[in-house]
Symmetry: C2
Subunit: 322 residues, 2 copies
Amino acid sequence: MRALVLDGIPRLVPDLPVPALAPGEALVAVRVAGICDTDLQLARGYMNFRGVPGHEFVGEVLEADDRSLVGARVVADINAGCGTCASCTSERGHHCQTRSVLGILGRSGAFAEQLTIPDRCLVRVPDELDDDGAVFAEPLAAALHVLDEAATRSARTAVVLGDGKLGLLIALALHASGLRTTVVGRHAEKLSLAAAAGIATCLEGDDAPRGADLVVEATGSEKGLAAALTLVRPRGTVVLKTTVAAPFSVDLSPVVIHEITLIGSRCGDMQRAVDVLSRNEVDPRPLIGARYPLSRADAAFEHAGRRGSLKILVDVGSTAAP
Amino acid sequence: MRALVLDGIPRLVPDLPVPALAPGEALVAVRVAGICDTDLQLARGYMNFRGVPGHEFVGEVLEADDRSLVGARVVADINAGCGTCASCTSERGHHCQTRSVLGILGRSGAFAEQLTIPDRCLVRVPDELDDDGAVFAEPLAAALHVLDEAATRSARTAVVLGDGKLGLLIALALHASGLRTTVVGRHAEKLSLAAAAGIATCLEGDDAPRGADLVVEATGSEKGLAAALTLVRPRGTVVLKTTVAAPFSVDLSPVVIHEITLIGSRCGDMQRAVDVLSRNEVDPRPLIGARYPLSRADAAFEHAGRRGSLKILVDVGSTAAP
């Protein structure tokens, strides 16, 4: 099969073997896949990644133990756990110690014609949700997961730091969940996408509102956390949504003095994300910046890496010829 | 009155004016006061502190608007808020923006013959609790406050990093609250105090138990947080109990990857601490390292500043002569 492979710079491979199916796994033909900043980090060597990246996708089931799934249009929880440990039985295996993670850790990803994933990770996409909406299910699940904590559930006001793909999606998710939300970013034209959805916006450097119940750090920069600590109210919550994959210098004394809660947040509930998208409570389509066929996935990665680019999609299923 | 004053090095002043009483405030004759690491930091210039330090005390009410309090033996919540804001009406004013804090911020403290504090901050000490127990009410309230968060309430296993005064008291508090607790420290003789109470101990450098639901950082050192992040389980909680009052370098990517909750924690409920001490569920008296009369409070500070020293008490009421 054709696939994009990371091993140094991204390159297209025309004849990669289709991943072998393990018991309980489904074979899925990818239709559309989205490029996430994590993919760009993997391309730069994060986690010493080698192989096919891609964990945001919508596809069609070709084979599955559960025959009723064959032919279904699906998205998937990207964490493929052992299925039996405490994490797998109580929290969808998101912290299973032996899990693989689609396109990130020990499992070939979605920038390929086909992928494998356990049946139990699959979530059906209803007819009313098109591919361009469904491909956002994974990042939207992560965005909605911000509100899954006891410390964030009662929040009424939120500031999102970062107007990147994820920051904007988080702002849309919080706004749709009823929080009075402000997104702070560097790009007027990207902030206008949030404003169009009714979200308050603020250019970095201008006075952002202080005293928020919840601040979500989605800048991916070292300065984000320090800024978050100045904007959150005492006993408020800062959710870290992006990793800075290296030590950096920060003054955490405000965390103690103001008794702030800091929570790391990763993947969320895919079924909920599909439901929210299907009901059109969040429309992520304005976040699509460009689309490329799989044959030009390397160009798609180059585009996604440009400063300020929006979500770049790769059409896999619709490009039969290279 | 006699008092210890910080203004550069600690020095005794024989004739400091008694603080003026504001409406709603009580005048309290200090009986015993304890030296906290915060006092040592104030002596080193933290918060540009000038004046009388001291926030751990037990005393006797000399004057109060509420006449029934006169003559009562009391401890006090050290946060004196405005009494009307949201923080004051819902969380004892611990984050009131205009609060003074006894011996720390805008209010003369307990290393003096007398202090003032709002009536509403006072908590009566029952007869069965002696002064040497009651003087620990403030730090014990802070220790028990670790379990006041939604994220910590369900914890069953805990590791406390640091065998200083506060670390040991937190270990005693968590153990008394039913958590399977391990305290990690540098001093075999101090760890033996925890062991005598039935708490598991571990010398720094030896293998501490991993996968704890809760890790409490009470080392006051830059390395503490990084160590805590290696010991807590995925989706577990790290409580920061000590401040490092400067930026330091730390890798927070495990917080996101393992979805760890980090909570800053300061003062707690004084009434609960008095109740726990009165029922003898926590006996802090083995933590007393030495005691000095107020006339030698400067020597008491010098002693408290020595590496590895336990709780140093200052007898105020029992030393009528200088």
